[in-house]
Symmetry: C3
């Protein structure tokens, strides 16, 4: 049985994951709850971990359960702000109980999934950016006027983002006040715009997003959701 009082953080994480992954294996063990999965198009790897410490009560048998994440997301969106969440396993169901003004129990059928867990890409990143989520979100919106991809460039520790379409182009220069950039080499990488937008859309606009890059390698994107962290690896595109 798991009890969570600050339910919003789990809700946000599940929202974010369900943008890419419709089904996945949650791993419960004595450290916390983890999910690692690759989207069907193999462009995004999600690595989520909610440490035991964020839960009010956390007594679990180690287990791996397959869940329809889109359904889990729809249920989690129904939580009221003062509800306490209880998770428990029963037969072939995950019991999701919201206790507050009402006492609501959702039972979600478990599904059978391939047990193999995706391994994290081993990349020696050369550049690190810490950027306000709002700035990144707005820049990607700008880019979506023209293109379906975005190019991140770093030169002399200055970050620019560029998009190009038939009708025109966008070039955004990110001022130093808006992003801390630390790069050992010049970076020039292209990524899918829609995936990138989806990845960061649940991030609190006022929070920081960390980007780790290397030429011709996937980008690591990570941000905090309250006390848990979500990480994505986004494949690069051919320039």
């Amino acid at each position: 049985m798991i009890v969570l009082e600050n339910t919003k953080q789990l809700q946000t994480a599940i929202k974010s994951i369900s943008n890419f992954i419709s089904e996945g294996n949650f791993r419960f063990n004595d450290k916390g709850i983890a999910l690692r999965a690759i989207d069907p198009s193999q462009i995004v790897l999600v690595n989520y971990f909610a440490p035991k410490g964020i839960f009010k009560k956390f007594s679990v048998e180690p287990s791996l359960i397959g869940i329809n994440i889109e359904d889990f997301d729809k249920i989690m969106r129904r939580v009221f702000s003062n509800d306490v969440l209880e998770l428990s396993l029963e037969d072939s169901c995950l019991n999701i109980r919201f206790v507050g003004e009402l006492d609501r129990t959702f039972k979600l059928s478990l599904i059978e999934l391939n047990e193999e867990e995706a391994s994290l890409p081993e990349v020696a990143f050369n550049a690190k950016i810490t950027i306000k989520a709002r700035i990144l979100q707005e820049t990607l919106k700008d880019a979506s006027l023209f293109g379906s991809s975005i190019v991140l460039k770093i030169k002399d520790n200055v970050l620019t983002m560029e998009a190009r379409g038939q009708q025109g182009t966008l070039k955004t220069l990110i001022k130093k006040e808006c992003a801390a950039v630390d790069s050992k080499e010049e970076i020039n990488n292209k990524y899918s715009l829609s995936f990138f937008e989806n990845l960061i859309k649940e991030a609190d606009p006022e929070s920081d997003i960390k980007l780790e890059l290397k030429n011709e390698a996937p980008m690591k994107i990570s941000y905090k959701i309250a006390d848990s962290e979500i990480q994505f690896y986004l494949a690069h595109m051919i320039l």
Copy 2:
């Protein structure tokens, strides 16, 4: 001629009715205005009564007029908050006049409808529930994640609502603080979820809704809209 100052209450009633009934007969007599009609699928009976007392001026010839309720609804939604509403009959039109900052007169063509008025079901209800509209609205939203129907159960004067779908189930236990339940027998009845949702969607979330039930009988649902009352009878489904 009928004059109404608190126009919002009539607006809300018409909104609510137009969710089910596209055409109906309004009955004007010395008691007030009444509408009783059955939706085309025969699942809902609406019984609305606006007593003479809510009107500032009420001098009518008894009459029965057929109206396109969807069109009437669209017009009523155009009322401004300080407008005074005047209703009058003229030839084959209902004159709907909004007098305020502007002086607007909408003429709605009357339509010929079968004169027979639906009779109210005669049910000796065994259970009565008074529940906050908001609680009921939220519970039906929860249920709509899974099913197209909802089951209301009462046992020992405790109300639970259940929905079931392929992906999972919901069971909501309504605490005694949220609903006053008075039942002479155990209740176990199933209703169409979409109809039930539509029936109560215009109810002020902070107002009370009264449900009257009996096994294998339609449920009576009633709530106040300012000083008038709207009643619905919702057919039960086979369990």
Copy 3:
């Protein structure tokens, strides 16, 4: 190079124009920026002028450039409230630069357009109305319940607007407090409702709209957007 600090006024003008005109020629000269164009259906003529004085810096070579106005509109909508706008020409592009928290440069490809400029209709108007935008916007919304056209009538300097459809009619009497009417003859003119609605939809609800009319002639509609003025000529319909 053109520099504009109050970007909202240009944004609003472009929004308003892009409702009708997808491509147009902007004329830059030592007086300011002008656009005069006719919509493809030949029902609306737009005449927009932004005087040099509204710009912080205005040093231009006289030129005429063809622009996709829908794309220009999408870019202008991305401006942040404190951004300073810089416009400049470069090769076959219009550079649109937003400088503020970020430094964003959008390049919009120029397009080749017929150079002939529409000439303004020469109408000796007989009636002039000054009406609060909000009142006009609401009356057109009322009318759209029934019809696809609206009739403006002036008699004894009293303005009424009427719409008619299969289901009913609307007649709005505009009180003298809401519109200043000065007419030398009785007016009875019909216009396309959807065009009229689009023409005034970007007008600040609290601003004044000036209508100039003559029987069987197009209506001139004009309003201020900050310090620039936008004018439309809307063709009349056969009564």
